[in-house]
């Protein structure tokens, strides 16, 4: 018969960890998306002397491994003397990282709208703003959404890295449980299932939106 020393308390502990993972994901994706939209918009219209340095900064954020960014930010905080909690640091670092990717997604979506389509909008007497709001954004959204869903799912899994700056999120909580129960296989399977349950609704939502839009286009 299947036996385990895993108790409800362990499960509850991991659920709390999952809650932390979700909270970090939420704030990182929210902040990253808002900033990414602003920067992506800026990048699609800004002259090269703004675009080049901005692009370089974003390149750094995308190229340096996230783990290093977490650890560096967490150490810098003590040096600079800001008294942010590790949770806040985690959200901020991950938000910037998300923004770096989101910027390119937004910019790509906007640039995917054919010039001739925008020209047609302007030729009807629509202003630059109306062209943006009524034509460019809706079309760009359809291009960008699948990438944005992918980014969000990636960020959710990347939250597991924050255990290195002392946050007990889902993965860290599972390791604590493993230390006690010595049943890594079972616990990791449960954690995997948790991550799946967290990701699945977002993936489904994306698929549904895509399907609805595809029926039209």
């Amino acid at each position: 018969m299947f036996e385990t020393s895993l108790i409800w308390n362990d499960l509850w502990f991991m659920i709390q960890g999952a809650g932390t993972s979700l909270a970090i994901t939420f704030w990182a994706v929210l902040g990253g998306t808002v900033l990414g939209i602003a920067l992506g918009l800026a990048r699609s219209v800004a002259p090269w002397w703004i675009n080049a340095p901005l692009g370089a900064v974003l390149d750094v954020l995308r190229s340096v491994p996230l783990l290093i960014q977490f650890v560096l930010a967490n150490s810098l905080k003590s040096i600079v003397g800001i008294s942010w909690s590790p949770f806040l640091i985690a959200c901020a670092v991950l938000a910037l990282y998300t923004a770096a990717y989101c910027t390119e997604i937004v910019r790509g979506g906007i640039l995917a709208v054919p010039k001739t389509t925008r020209r047609a909008a302007r030729s009807l007497g629509m202003s630059y703003r109306q062209d943006m709001v009524e034509v460019v954004f809706p079309i760009a959204l359809r291009v960008a959404l699948p990438n944005w869903i992918g980014l969000t799912l990636g960020v959710m899994k990347d939250t597991s890295l924050v255990l290195w700056i002392g946050i007990i999120e889902l993965l860290r909580s599972s390791q604590i449980v493993i230390t006690r129960t010595q049943e890594p296989l079972l616990v990791l399977m449960i954690v995997g299932a948790f991550y799946f349950l967290m990701s699945f609704p977002i993936a489904r939502l994306g698929a549904r939106l895509e399907k609805r839009w595809r029926e039209n286009d």
Partner: protein
């Protein structure tokens, strides 16, 4: 009345329109023919201010299109333009495509814009396709939708930029038919086209463009029927 005076237009170093003058009176249909790169499409873009010009001027009903203070968005309400690519707004249904500008630019109520859009779409033979999305239309239907979209602004002038060039041959007829209908209703039109037979049939005048200049302009019987210039003769032989 559209008055074009000594217009020069360059893209960087390349001068594509080299001093064109012509005028189009109310109710007139003027066709512009000529080879690729002769500057005829570019001139069309200059008329509603989509492209700036380097020299000369264009007046539409006395308004200087390229003057500093001209409100181009306001001017463009009166000048409809249809492009070679039909440029449907893919996220909007056919009727929403046509309603968009009347609602946003003219500030009409939804119901008013809907009534106008439905009327224009029926006029171009798309009364059955109101709720359909552009991707489900043929090229010819999309192009007729683009015409209805321009007509929904009740323009005084209509510009057509090689509107049948990107269409399958069997779809050309329906679009030309729609334009024929407009001309018979007295719409003032400038038609850049490669359809010589069509130009001959509907135009009051035909202008032949060659390397950025008007080589010949006059009634179709004259320019197409008995061309005087060597370039015109060569061009017509190559397309007829």
């Amino acid at each position: 009345m559209i008055e074009i005076r000594d217009v020069h237009k360059s893209f960087g170093q390349l001068e594509v329109v080299k001093g064109v003058s012509m005028s189009v009176a109310k109710g007139e249909v003027v066709s512009v023919i000529g080879g690729s790169g002769s500057g005829k499409s570019t001139l069309l873009m200059c008329i509603n201010g989509l492209e700036p010009i380097q020299k000369g001027n264009i007046h539409v009903d006395g308004i200087d299109v390229h003057a500093r203070g001209t409100d181009l968005n306001k001017l463009r309400r009166r000048i409809g333009i249809v492009f070679q690519q039909w440029n449907a707004f893919p996220h909007l249904s056919v009727i929403e495509n046509v309603m968009l500008a009347p609602r946003k630019v003219l500030g009409l109520k939804r119901s008013e814009a809907e009534a106008i859009a439905e009327q224009r779409l029926k006029h171009v033979g798309l009364g059955e396709k109101l709720k359909v999305y552009p991707s489900q239309l043929s090229g010819g239907q999309q192009q007729r939708m683009a015409i209805a979209r321009a007509l929904a602004m009740s323009p005084d002038y209509m510009l057509f930029d090689e509107v049948t060039s990107a269409l399958d041959p069997q779809l050309v007829g329906e679009v030309l038919e729609t334009m024929r209908m407009l001309s018979s209703e007295g719409m003032t039109m400038i038609v850049v086209t490669h359809e010589i037979a069509f130009a001959r049939e509907v135009s009051n005048r035909v202008a032949f463009f060659h390397s950025g200049r008007i080589r010949e302009i006059g009634p179709p019987e004259q320019v197409i029927g008995s061309p005087q210039q060597a370039e015109t003769i060569t061009f017509l032989q190559s397309v007829l």
